[in-house]
Symmetry: C2
Subunit: 372 residues, 2 copies
C-alpha cells in the first residue's frame, strides 16, 4: 500500500527512540516532526529535550524513559498490538498524508484490512432505529463494493457501522489505549472486530480517553478514509468535527438527509446546505469514490529515522526575546515571525521548539503558532 | 407591476376576439401567438381559421362563436372573474415571460396579490403530519418576508400552503374552470382564499379538469413564482413535474430533505441530489430569493392586439407537400425545416399553422414541431 513513496523499517532501537520522543511531555505529532527534522533522528532529539526546555524557560519536562518505552512495546505485543511507524509498510498510506499524522500507531487485528480502500461512517450516539437501519444498509453496500468501514466504536451509528462490516473489514479507531476501551460495554464488540478487522490508536497503553482526545482521534478516522459518511448528527456534535476535519484533509464528506423536524438530522442537513454530498444509498457514495480510488496519492515522505543532524543552532538571548515578544495567545504565521523578527528561519524554528518543549507554545495547522 | 414593458389594454371587441381565438379548436398558447403575429390581430386570425384548416387537410375546426365568447365573459363576471390578457396591467409580469404564457387568464379575488413577489409551495396529496407542519412553518416565514404563496389547491401540502397564507396572500391556480373546483371538497377553502387572495385559471368556465390539465396547470404555478418549494414528493409525482418546469423557466427550485427511509422524501431527496437547493426553514429560501427580487425581468413584449397583418402568403401545393414530407412524429426544429425545404421562413410557418389548425401538428418548446 506504500507504492510510490519510500518504505522505511525501524530497527528495534529506533522504535524505542521514536516511542520515547512521542511519549515525552509537550511532544505532539507536529513537534515530533520538527524535532526529528532538526536533530536528524529521535535519539538525538530525546537527548536534546532538557536543554531545549531550559532555554524555553521551564524545568525539564517529563521524558519517557527507555525502560518505559520497552515496557509499552512489550505489553502491546502481549495484547497483540504492533507499534507501527509512519513510513513503515503497515502504516496506512492515506493517514501518512494528513497534516499531523501520528508518528506511531498501535495496530491490533488483521493488518491487511488497512490495505483496503476505506470509508468512515459516523453519527449520533443516541441513534434512532431508522438511523441504525440506514447505517447497516449503507455499510453493506460499501462492503459489497470492496470498502472497509472506519468508525469510532461509539454507541449508536458507530457501533452499527462496525457490526455491519465485521465479516468484510472494519477499522475501530480508539481515543484511548488498547486496554482502555470506551465505552466499556463495547469490549465484546471489539472482540468481534479483531478476527477480520482492526483496532488502532495513537495513545499509549493505559491511557483513559478524556473529552479532548475524541476530536483528536476523529482526525484519524477521516485521515484513514477516502470519504466520511455522516448518518445522523445533531447540531454541534462530534460527527460534525469529523466532517470538518475531513474537509480540511481534502476528504469527501457525505451526509444523509433527514426531516427538518428531526433534531438528529439538523447536523446532516446543515452539512448538505454547506455543500456536503447528499446521499441516500451506498451507490451514491461509490459513484463518487470509485473514480478517486485509482488516483495516485501525493507523495509525502516520512521523516528519516536517522538523517543528518542540522548544525546545532543556539539563538542569542536578545534574538529569543525579540521572537517571544512577537508571539501572543492569538495564532500567528511562522512565516510572519521570520519576516518580523529579522532572524533566520532556523533560529526562529529553534526558539519555537524550545518554547514548545517548555510547554509554552501551541502549534495549530497551517503554520500557525500561539503562546499558551 | 408591468414596469419596463409596454402595458396594453384590450377593447371589449378585442377581448372577445382574443377569447374566440384561444377557445377555438387546435389553438393553444403557442399557436395563438403565431396566428396573431401572422395575421396582425385576433379578429383576422379567427376569420382565417377555416381556410387554414382546409389547406392543412381537414374540415373546419370548431370555432368559438362571438356569442359563446360574450357568454363566457358575462358568466365569468357574475362569478367575479375577470379575463385578463397578456400585457394588461393585471397580468402577472413573471408569467408573461414563460415560453408559452396563456393569452388570457381568468382571475378571481383580490388582484393586488399578484403584484406581490410570489413563491410556490407544492407537494404530496397524501402528506404526512410532519409535512403539513413544515409547510405551515415555511409558508408563515415566507409570508412574513412579504411573499405571496402560490399552489394548486390540491389535498395535502397544497391545501396546507394556502391555509397558512390566507390572511397574507395566497394564489390558487386551477386546472379547470372557476366553476369546476377540484377537488370538490376544497370549495370552502377556495371561499376562504378569495377575500385576501386569488384563484386563476386559463381554462374556460365549465371545464372539468382532466389528468393532462394538471401538468399544463403546473407551468403556471412555477411561471408565476420566483421559486418553487417542494415539501414532500414521492418518486414520479406531479410535484416533480412542477420542479422540472420551474427549472426550464429559470426559476429557483428548493426541496425539503427527508429521511431516506421515508418514501415521501424520495422525490425531494432526488431533487437535492440533482442540485436543487436544500432548505429546512423559510430563511434559507428568503436568502436566495431576496437578491433576485430586485433584478429587472427580461423584457418580452406581449403580442400586439391589432398589429399590421403580414402580407397574405399561400404556399404552392408542391411546396406544402415537400414541407409535410419533412415532418414526422419525431420532433424536428422549425429552423431545420426551413433549411431542408428550401422554402421561405414565412411559407414554412404558414404550412405549420395550417397543419396545426387542421389538428395534425403539435408544437413543443424550443422551436420543435411534430406530426400528430
Amino acid at each position: 500500500m506504500n507504492d510510490g513513496t519510500r518504505v522505511i523499517r525501524l530497527t528495534d532501537e529506533q522504535r524505542i527512540d521514536w516511542l520515547r520522543l512521542i511519549r515525552s511531555q509537550n511532544v505532539g505529532p507536529r513537534t515530533f516532526r520538527a524535532l526529528i527534522n532538526h536533530f536528524g533522528g529521535a535519539h538525538a532529539a530525546v537527548e536534546a529535550l532538557p536543554a531545549l526546555a531550559r532555554r524555553g524557560g521551564s524545568s525539564t519536562p517529563q521524558i519517557c524513559s527507555r525502560q518505559d518505552a520497552e515496557r509499552e512495546i512489550e505489553a502491546s505485543r502481549k495484547l497483540g498490538a504492533n507499534l507501527v511507524a509512519i513510513g513503515e509498510a503497515d502504516y496506512p498510506r492515506r493517514l501518512q498524508m494528513i497534516d499531523n499524522p501520528p508518528p506511531l500507531i498501535a495496530i491490533r487485528g488483521r493488518a491487511t484490512v488497512l490495505a483496503m480502500p476505506q470509508v468512515a461512517i459516523v453519527g449520533s450516539r443516541n441513534a434512532s432505529a431508522g438511523g441504525v437501519k440506514l447505517t447497516q444498509r449503507i455499510a453493506y453496500g460499501l462492503c459489497e463494493a470492496g470498502f472497509a468501514i472506519v468508525s469510532g466504536l461509539a454507541r449508536g451509528i458507530d457501533a452499527a457501522a462496525h457490526r455491519a462490516s465485521l465479516s468484510t473489514g472494519t477499522v475501530a479507531v480508539l481515543a484511548g489505549g488498547h486496554d482502555r476501551v470506551y465505552p466499556p460495554e463495547h469490549a465484546e464488540l471489539l472482540d468481534a472486530i479483531l478476527p477480520c478487522g482492526i483496532a488502532l490508536t495513537e495513545m499509549p497503553l493505559g491511557w483513559e480517553p478524556r473529552a479532548r482526545d475524541f476530536p483528536r482521534r476523529n482526525r484519524l478516522i477521516s485521515g484513514l478514509s477516502l470519504g466520511v459518511v455522516i448518518v445522523e448528527a445533531a447540531k454541534r456534535s462530534g460527527s460534525l468535527i469529523t466532517a470538518r476535519l475531513a474537509l480540511e484533509q481534502g476528504r469527501e464528506v457525505f451526509a444523509l438527509p433527514g426531516s427538518p423536524l428531526d433534531p438528529r438530522a439538523e447536523g446532516t442537513n446543515g452539512l448538505i446546505k454547506q455543500g456536503a454530498t447528499p446521499v441516500t444509498e451506498a451507490a451514491d457514495i461509490v459513484s463518487v469514490l470509485q473514480p478517486i480510488m485509482g488516483t495516485e496519492l501525493p507523495a509525502r515522505e516520512p521523516p528519516a529515522p536517522d538523517g543528518e543532524a542540522s548544525q546545532s543552532v543556539e539563538p542569542a538571548p536578545d534574538e529569543r526575546t525579540r521572537i517571544v515578544g512577537l508571539l501572543s495567545p492569538a495564532p500567528v504565521l511562522i512565516d510572519d515571525l521570520i519576516r518580523l523578527s529579522h532572524s533566520s528561519p532556523r533560529v526562529v524554528r529553534m526558539v519555537l521548539l524550545e518554547l514548545e518543549i517548555a510547554g509554552r507554545l501551541e502549534r495549530h495547522g497551517g503554520g500557525l503558532v500561539s503562546l499558551l
